[in-house]
């Protein structure tokens, strides 16, 4: 019995690993094709002597042909016009304060500067660095230029994207909660870790992105193995209370956040510095990377879902979630299941971190902390400890976050709305959308 169990475990391990890696390999095959499409004027490669200065119009106002003039610290002027995506990138070589001037004369019909927006922005830049300036331009008749339905579609797509990426991390968080009862506050830092490690591999050690992504996922999964090996399993054996363990995760998250700052600095870093290319489907415009990220999430989540439902180990995991003592009594090695859950959960968080770093234009020491509560909201909304609930919850949360501004609420409140919905739902249905009523109280 035990022997069969073990072989099956290896089988599932490989299936999951392949599931995690296969989409990235697919990505590898198609990468050169999309690289060839980069227009010459948006290309800027940072080096020891060159810095990139990207000037752009806000999302939603992708207007080509607007003239932007950069004055270098030594007084040299360069003028370029925005491309189809409303972006232009200057390759500069001097250190000091630049001036970026927007030529309002070059505006086409129907575009204007926001009332209190500046036409001149003065970033400071040094070779090897990069800077992004956004001019606060809007369409003349803002509501008329983009119909409400179009912006609804666009926001829904962004929401789905955010939801799918959150789901990768939330499913792991939910599996950990289900099997061990621990609400891991450091899970968000595992997400940041994915982006950070990918950044270091690509930008510091020059590893090609796709190889780096695969290695990052493997490394993140290893951190899960390592943590469970040296910390969580011994603590479980010693019978440390769940609240105490929760505080241990808070300590870990604090230490990781500041370790990121010591290593990488407090600023935003980008894994890939080239400007992303966009693609449009009807009213929806997203970067290619976003479409890839969504595709990869769907594939990986399906593999995880399949593994949970159909494989022996998946059933064992659900059994442990349901009742660890009973699971142990029926011959399931609970510690092994939990070890594997930690590996999968941190691996998924790492994958989510890499893709969030690509999609959201970079990663920062507190990127994870920003989404931590969204992850908890997703897990709770779906029903604490149910992996499929976490998936549903994450997508709901992603949509709520991105759709908030569409329904007239201030954009600054978009995370708050998600949390408010969580609190309201807990009042009516404390077990969550997919939770079982008897789990509560």
């Amino acid at each position: 019995m035990d022997h069969r169990w073990r072989t099956s475990r290896h089988g599932v391990g490989w299936v999951l690993l392949l599931g995690l890696l296969a989409p990235l390999l697919l990505f590898l095959g198609s990468a050169p094709a999309s690289a060839g499409e980069v227009p010459a004027d948006t290309e800027c490669t940072r080096s020891e002597t060159t810095a990139c200065l990207q000037a752009r119009l806000p999302t939603g106002v992708e207007v080509p042909g607007i003239a932007i003039t950069v004055t270098t610290p030594s007084g040299e002027e360069v003028t370029q016009v925005t491309d189809e995506a409303g972006i232009t990138v200057f390759a500069v070589t001097e250190e000091g304060q630049y001036s970026v001037l927007l030529d309002t004369e070059s505006f086409p019909e129907g575009v204007e500067l926001r009332p209190d927006a500046a036409t001149e922005i003065t970033p400071t830049l040094a070779p090897g660095g990069q800077s992004f300036v956004t001019f606060n331009v809007r369409a003349d008749d803002y509501t008329g230029a983009i119909s409400w339905w179009d912006s609804l579609a666009q926001s829904a797509a962004s929401g789905l994207r955010l939801g799918l990426l959150l789901a990768l991390a939330a499913v792991g968080l939910s599996l950990i909660y289900g099997t061990t009862g621990l609400s891991s506050f450091s899970h968000a830092e595992q997400v940041t870790l994915g982006g950070m490690v990918a950044f270091m591999m690509v930008n510091w050690w020059g590893i090609p992105f796709l190889l780096a992504a695969v290695l990052t996922v493997a490394f993140c999964a290893f951190t899960g193995y390592f943590q469970d090996r040296v910390m969580w399993q011994p603590l479980r054996r010693r019978g440390l209370g769940l609240i105490q363990m929760l505080i241990v995760t808070i300590g870990l998250s604090l230490a990781m956040q500041y370790a990121f700052q010591v290593l990488v600095g407090a600023g935003n870093v980008r894994v890939i510095s080239a400007s992303p290319q966009t693609a449009s489907f009807g009213p929806v415009t997203l970067t290619y990377q976003s479409f890839w990220a969504m595709g990869i999430s769907v594939v990986v989540l399906s593999v995880v879902g399949f593994a949970l439902l159909r494989t022996r180990l998946g059933r064992a995991t659900r059994a442990v979630s349901d009742n660890p003592a009973l699971a142990a009594a029926s011959g399931i090695d609970v510690d092994r299941v939990i070890r594997l859950v930690w590996i999968i959960a941190t691996g998924l968080a790492g994958l989510s971190g890499i893709m969030l770093a690509l999609v959201l234009n970079g990663v920062k020491w507190d990127s994870g902390m920003q989404i931590l509560l969204l992850l908890f909201a997703a897990v709770t909304l779906g029903g604490l400890g149910t992996a499929f609930g976490a998936l549903v919850g994450a997508i709901v949360i992603g949509l709520v976050v991105e759709l908030t501004p569409i329904f007239g609420l201030p954009g600054d409140l978009k995370y708050a709305t998600a949390l408010l919905i969580l609190i309201l739902l807990l009042m009516v249905r404390p077990q969550g959308i997919l939770g079982k009523a008897e789990r509560v109280g």
């Binding site: 609400s183 241990v248 604090l254 230490a255 509560l373 709770t380 604490l384």
Partner: protein, 383 residues
């Protein structure tokens, strides 16, 4: 369980047990521990004081920095919030991970009321009222559910408060993400000072008598800490306090005694949250109200201070807050003085000190979950 038995045997007055709670071996150990810790504490402070005032090396600067941080008004303010959290978590077992939200609400209520022209007493009441309303709002839906729900709801609600405070639409009242500068609301508080002008220096502590961040702010803050500690000590020794511990240990047992567990939990949530709000008001007096300074990070610091000092103790929270802030300054100062810039520059030592704080928190909970003053027998709770 063991607690119940000892209490029972003390009441029954067994022949070899003289006065209840005096000569039992564990109490002797507790008393010896208290003496040892007090002597140790005084010795550490004396050494730091001597080095800070009588020598002239890098450590003199480090130690005077530590001593200054130990009595800063913000340390006192956080100590009060920690005492509040101690009522929640230490005595009642409520998992409040949003104590900074209570602080922020108290600070906003206080500062906005002062800006709108209310007097100092009214402003304090407004701040406290805001926290009471917040506690009711959080408690009504969650106190009947399992412990982790309160945790998720408190941390989420605290974040909602922070996001709302930062809203640019509310800049007129809350100052948006820029915050409210202390100079706008501090006046009435500094006017109350009877310390006069000038500057007083005691050892490494040299501050203006009144000033923005002087002796007056320190004296008031620490006086409030003392007052709060006395009130809480009386509260938790009252029958009501025993009820709190009972709820922490076994909610169903208390319910079976005919007590209204829900109401008692709610009272604990309100009192602890009110102390949080009081801490928040003192926290912003010498500086400014800034939503981002009272976020999750601060909640985590409050938790660390509580566990460091010892949950379910009277002086633990205050000691924990002092040690938490001082030790960080110590780590930063020592790293700054002895690790060359090529390895860690000034900014990195600041960040490094936080990494150490995180690791200390982990090690502390793993190896000494009861904290410095805590009693391991009291800390068996598990939600």
């Amino acid at each position: 369980m063991s607690q119940d038995t000892t209490a029972y045997s003390a009441d029954a007055v067994e022949p070899d047990t003289p006065a209840p709670g005096d000569e039992r071996p564990e109490n002797r150990i507790d008393r010896r521990k208290t003496v040892v810790l007090t002597v140790l504490g005084i010795a550490i402070v004396a050494v730091m004081w001597y080095v800070a005032t009588s020598t002239d090396g890098p450590m003199a600067r480090v130690f005077s920095g530590v001593l200054r941080e130990a009595i800063s008004p913000q340390t006192a303010a956080v100590a009060i919030a920690v005492v509040g959290l101690n009522i929640h978590f230490g005595f009642t077992g409520l998992l409040n991970i949003g104590q900074a939200g209570f602080m922020l609400l108290g600070a906003y209520g206080f500062a906005i009321a002062l800006n709108e022209g209310a007097g100092l007493p009214l402003a304090v009441l407004v701040g406290l009222g805001a926290s009471v309303a917040f506690a009711l709002l959080l408690g009504v839906p969650t106190l009947k559910l399992r412990g982790d729900y309160l945790a998720i709801v408190t941390i989420s609600a605290a974040e909602i408060v922070r996001y709302t405070g930062r809203l640019s639409q509310l800049t007129e009242y809350t100052g948006g993400s820029q915050g409210l500068p202390g100079s706008r609301y501090r006046g009435e508080f500094t006017d109350l000072s009877f310390f006069g002008d000038g500057r007083t220096t005691i050892g490494p502590w040299s501050y203006q008598n009144t000033g923005v961040d002087g002796w007056w702010a320190r004296a008031v803050s620490w006086a409030v800490v003392l007052l709060v500690v006395i009130v809480v000590a009386l509260l938790v020794r009252s029958p009501w306090g025993r009820l709190l511990r009972g709820i922490r240990e076994d909610e169903d047992a208390i319910r079976s005694l005919g007590k209204n567990v829900y109401a008692v939990k709610m009272q604990a949530l309100i009192i602890g949250g009110g102390l949080g709000a009081l801490g928040g008001m003192l926290y912003v007096l010498p500086s400014s109200v800034q939503a981002d300074q009272m976020g999750r990070q601060l909640t985590f610091f409050i938790w660390t201070a509580l566990l460091l000092g010892g949950a379910a103790t009277i002086f633990g929270p205050v000691l924990g807050a002092i040690i938490f802030f001082s030790v960080r300054i110590l780590i930063r100062g020592v790293t700054n003085a002895y690790v060359p810039d090529s390895i860690l520059n000034t900014q990195q030592t600041e960040q490094f000190s936080w990494v150490v704080v995180g690791v200390i928190l982990m090690l502390l909970v793993i190896f000494r979950p009861q904290g410095i003053l805590g009693n391991k027998r009291e800390l068996q709770f598990n939600a």
